[in-house]
């Protein structure tokens, strides 16, 4: 059942390619159908499969000569992220209902990207996982380069090259691991059981972890994220922040930490106060949290604020993973889901509701437009999304960041304090953006700058698909915020599987 998430998306791509040109309505309908189909499969899978066990969906011998299998399976972690992908896909399509330019190609690339994402979350053969991971890079390039805005070709190329360099690092580590383990299998389960020499893990772990973390926006390799998000069309930025960055974090957890757990052990000596890769990487994660927040605080472009906020929030995911205790790691997975939904919502407001109507994202110009009266729906949506992003109780972000902080407090208290400071900065930049974009009082003399100086700006009304998309995403973040067990009962048993043995041993530096 779950495997059909991938196939339905691919069938959608095929149907879209066969459609005649100049029929954007049909293209949208096909894309939405495929997205709904994928989400239904994901839901059915989440409802029926036991999250505490690895349930194999499909297992075929793919390249027997090399011991490579086509192995799709799911545990609680995969299920959580597959659900997120389903939700983000539907929302993304609803928010790109106004794409008219080369619509069928747009949705074809979009669904191809989605197929790759589903595939990564469901692969339990490392080779297959890598195949899907790379499959997702190319559509991103085209989505941004063709349908993007501000410096789109630069942003697209930067994103593609960063992703590819990251995956090149991963590939080196994986080929070496494959050969060391006898070149007989690429199965994640088999490789995780193979006792790789500690000296090997010590260099393979950082290589693979950082390779994946590039896509998760680990500071200082995050610079593709803001430019890419800003250049991307709305749906693509929603997916980039919502799902694609999770691919990186998922790879860190599923591949790097599972295959090379000893890479996290202390080096046995101390260099500049660092005693292990874990220290180095968690410092980078914390720097990302604080730095991303501070940079978001001074942006003039509305979308850059959200772009940098993604870097900050993804820092929580990476920090949570490195705590190596169940609270922290489950918080990280919950944060992946939570950020996926919230970032999608934020980008939807900025890119679709505001930018497509006002044709500017400069906070300085938006200040003059009195948008809270011109677009009350957008304002309210953004405030709700902002509250969720700040981590107020009642929203999913609260539980996720709380868990990460608790986990970090057990593992490294100093970093926990710094991350807490990051949450404060998060509140500051969101409030600043809300105030500037929606609630600024235009000064008397500048009123003339507004096209029609009397009353609120006449803008096209918010459409039904936009409302539906916004309700969907708000509903998800509220549901998890009010009843986090909904996902935690998937995540926590998932972490109990033998693949995460290191979790039981971890937690003490």
């Amino acid at each position: 059942m779950l495997a059909w998430t991938i196939y339905i998306s691919l069938i959608g791509v095929g149907v879209l390619m066969a459609l005649p040109r100049g029929k954007p309505g049909a293209a949208r309908a096909v894309a939405l159908l495929a997205a709904l189909g994928g989400f239904t499969c994901a839901l059915a899978g989440a409802a029926t499969l036991d999250p505490g066990r690895l349930s194999t969906v499909t297992r075929l011998r793919w390249i027997p000569s090399l011991g490579i299998e086509y192995h799709l399976a799911a545990d609680g972690i995969s299920l959580t992220l597959v659900l997120l992908t389903g939700i983000a896909t539907i929302a993304g399509i609803l928010f790109s209902w106004n794409v008219e330019h080369r619509a069928k190609e747009f949705f074809a690339f979009y669904l191809l990207l989605i197929a790759g994402v589903y595939g990564v979350f469901l692969s339990f053969d490392v080779f297959l996982l890598f195949v899907f991971y790379e499959l997702a890079i190319i559509p991103k390039y085209f989505l941004i380069a063709i349908w993007g805005s501000t410096r789109k070709e630069y942003g697209a190329m930067k994103l593609a090259l960063y992703s590819f360099v990251g995956s090149a690092m991963v590939l080196v580590g994986l080929v070496a691991a494959y050969v060391l383990a006898g070149a007989k299998t690429m199965s994640l389960l088999e490789l995780a059981r193979y006792p790789f020499p500690e000296s090997f893990q010590m260099w393979a772990f950082p290589l693979v972890f950082i390779g994946f973390a590039v896509l998760a926006g680990l500071w200082p390799f995050h610079t593709w994220a803001p430019t890419g998000h800003v250049a991307a069309p709305t749906a693509a930025s929603m997916l980039l922040a919502g799902v694609v960055m999770k691919l990186g974090a998922y790879g860190c957890l599923r591949v790097a930490m599972t295959l090379f757990p000893h890479g996290l052990d202390p080096w046995g000596f101390s260099l500049l106060g660092f005693g292990s890769w874990r220290d180095v990487l968690s410092l980078l994660a914390v720097v990302g949290i604080v730095y991303g927040g501070l940079v978001a605080l001074v942006q003039r472009d509305f979308k850059f604020v959200i772009g940098y906020s993604s870097v900050s929030h993804m820092g929580f995911v990476l920090l949570g993973l490195l705590t190596l205790n169940t609270v922290g790691v489950s918080g990280a997975v919950l944060q992946m889901f939570s950020h996926g939904v919230i970032a999608g919502l934020l980008f939807a407001v900025v890119g679709r509701m505001v930018y497509d109507r006002t044709h500017t994202r400069e906070l300085g110009k938006l200040e003059l437009m009195n948008l809270n009266r011109a677009m009350p729906f957008a304002a309210v949506t953004f405030i709700i999304a902002g509250m969720a992003s700040m981590g107020l109780p009642g929203f999913s972000g609260f539980w996720a960041e709380l868990q990460v902080l608790v986990g970090a407090w057990q593992a490294f208290p100093t970093f926990a304090v710094l991350a807490g400071f990051g949450i404060l900065v998060g509140a500051a930049y969101i409030l600043r953006a809300v105030q500037k974009a929606f609630f600024a009082e235009p000064e008397e003399e500048s009123v003339g700058a507004v096209p029609n100086g009397h009353g609120p700006l006449a803008l096209p009304p918010i459409t039904v698909p936009e409302r539906l998309g916004a309700f969907l995403l708000i509903g998800c973040t509220l549901a998890i915020g009010l009843y986090p067990r909904l996902l935690l009962h998937l995540i926590i048993p998932g972490l109990g599987s033998p693949l995460f043995e290191w979790l039981a041993k971890g937690g003490t530096p």
Partner: protein
């Protein structure tokens, strides 16, 4: 000397004989019967005869499955040479089909005859383990290719390219001949395995080092590895598109197979090592340096090209670097990986040249800007180009990725010391990340850029379209189901005992 078993020789050389007959048929039909007829008709007939001949050879190889060795490796037929010959013949058929819709020459018969002669040379090249035969078939291939390069007689750059190719090739052939004669002098035999036996010793004879380097210079030229690649950009750009496609695909397949045979069989006692901090003299370090230089220079130089053909030439240099890694592994797995890589690369690059040929024919140039907006002017052609470029860049699930993965894994897995070659793998993977940049530049023109002279549909000849779609399907198929080819190659390699 009465013991020559001509019947045995004939039995092994039936496919080659079919090709020779086809050459004569093409020439005869064109010169005798079709002289006064319209040129496109003559081309079609010549192409048909060529394809029929190649198909006949393929059918014989598939049905009769000849096995055996004639006169101590003078002519060898086993399952490995069969797979490679099948690939060569298939590439030739596709090249011939692409040639039908081009009009650079009034000499249709001669053109197709030379195409077949070049293929004949390649087939002999891969099916011999004898130094003398290797040299002769190398010359047959090269001389045919020089002429094919110069075939667009009315264009100066075609002549220039051929001149460069010829001068470099002549020099390289002289080096090869000198190196091979030294090998013969050292061992007293022209049979590769006997050469290996005679040369196996505790330490390297300086004369052997000289012989080895000279030989490798010649093969380095053939496969366009740095620093013997200088002819490639000009030849790829100046030659008529189908000739360039054959140079880039078939000639590369044959060149690499024979290179692997020469070093793994003939020089098996003089490997040396290129492991990090544990280098030892031999052919491995020489090839490792050539591979590293090819990957670096090919990929970096391709970035700044504005002509797609030159870009493909430098990308070919870079791919020669990856393929040399397959030669370095010198084991059964590596050989299978190498052959998988060169065959899929041949199909991919042939397809890319096919697209360029169509675009150049319609827009008059092969610059990046000539591809602008292709996705709206010829969507199917653009989709084919997308597949070819992504495969060259090594994006899964296309064969460019599977091949690279297999070559790297086989290289590291070749022996106890071979983890020391990890530096080459790191360089190769890093450089393939660089290569994505310029392949994306091509695709950016195809999919992103606005068409220059309107969105009018680009008329694509039906035959070319069919051939290109077939190639794209073959590429996707070999990428998604690589085991079809890999398992056969492994069985063949194990059978041949390499």
């Amino acid at each position: 000397m009465s013991g020559v078993a001509y019947l045995e020789l004939f039995r092994l050389a039936v496919p080659e004989t079919i090709l020779v007959v086809t050459v004569l048929a093409v020439l005869g039909a064109d010169l005798v019967a079709l002289r006064g007829l319209e040129l496109s008709f003559r081309r079609t007939i010549a192409a048909l005869i060529s394809c029929a001949g190649c198909a006949g050879a393929i059918a014989w190889l598939l049905l009769a499955q000849p096995q055996g060795s004639f006169a101590e490796g003078m002519l060898v037929a086993d399952s490995l040479t069969r797979v490679v010959k099948l690939a060569l013949l298939a590439l030739t058929i596709l090249t011939a089909l692409i040639s039908v819709n081009t009009d650079f020459t009034p000499h249709a018969g001669e053109y197709f005859a030379l195409l077949l002669l070049a293929t004949l040379g390649m087939m002999f090249l891969v099916s011999t383990e004898d130094i003398l035969m290797i040299f002769i078939s190398l010359e047959l291939t090269s001389l045919s290719l020089y002429v094919l390069t110069a075939f667009a007689k009315q264009r100066a750059d075609s002549a220039e390219a051929a001149m460069k190719y010829f001068l470099f090739g002549g020099m390289a052939a002289a080096f090869t001949l000198f190196g091979l004669s030294l090998l013969y002098g050292l061992s007293g035999s022209t049979d590769l395995s006997r050469v290996a036996d005679a040369l196996r010793g505790p330490r390297l004879d300086p004369l052997l080092v000289l012989a080895m380097v000279m030989t490798l210079v010649g093969f380095g030229f053939k496969v366009a590895a740095v620093p013997f690649h200088l002819w490639a950009p000009d030849a790829y750009q100046g030659a008529p598109a189908p000739s360039a496609a054959l140079i880039a695909s078939g000639s590369k397949v044959a060149g690499f197979v024979v290179l692997a045979k020469v070093v793994t069989v003939g020089l098996s006692g003089a490997q040396g090592s290129a492991a990090w901090q544990a280098c030892a003299p031999g052919w491995v370090p020489v090839l490792a340096l050539m591979a590293a230089a090819s990957m670096l220079l090919g990929n970096l130089a391709a970035i700044v090209q504005s002509s797609v053909r030159r870009l493909l030439a430098y990308s070919a240099v870079a791919h020669a670097g990856y393929m040399l890694l397959g030669v370095l592994g010198h084991g059964g797995q590596s050989l299978a990986a190498l052959v998988y890589y060169v065959i899929t690369y041949g199909l991919t690059t042939l397809g890319a040249f096919g697209v360029i040929a169509v675009v150049q024919g319609r827009t008059g140039g092969d610059n990046l800007s000539n591809l602008a907006g292709l996705s709206r002017r010829a969507p199917l052609l653009a989709l084919c180009m997308l597949i070819f470029m992504l495969s060259l860049a090594g994006i899964p699930p296309l064969p460019g990725f599977v091949g690279k993965f297999y070559i790297f894994a086989a290289l590291l897995n070749a022996g106890p010391q071979s983890m020391g070659l990890l530096w080459l793998v790191i360089l190769a993977v890093g450089m393939s990340a660089v290569s994505l940049y310029y392949y994306l530049l091509v695709l950016k023109q195809v999919y992103v850029a606005e068409p220059q002279d309107g969105t009018a549909a680009l008329p694509v000849p039906a035959l070319s379209q069919v051939v290109l779609v077939l190639l794209a399907l073959a590429v996707v198929g070999l990428g998604c189901a690589p085991d079809v080819l890999i398992s056969r190659l492994l069985a063949a390699v194990n059978f041949a005992g390499l």
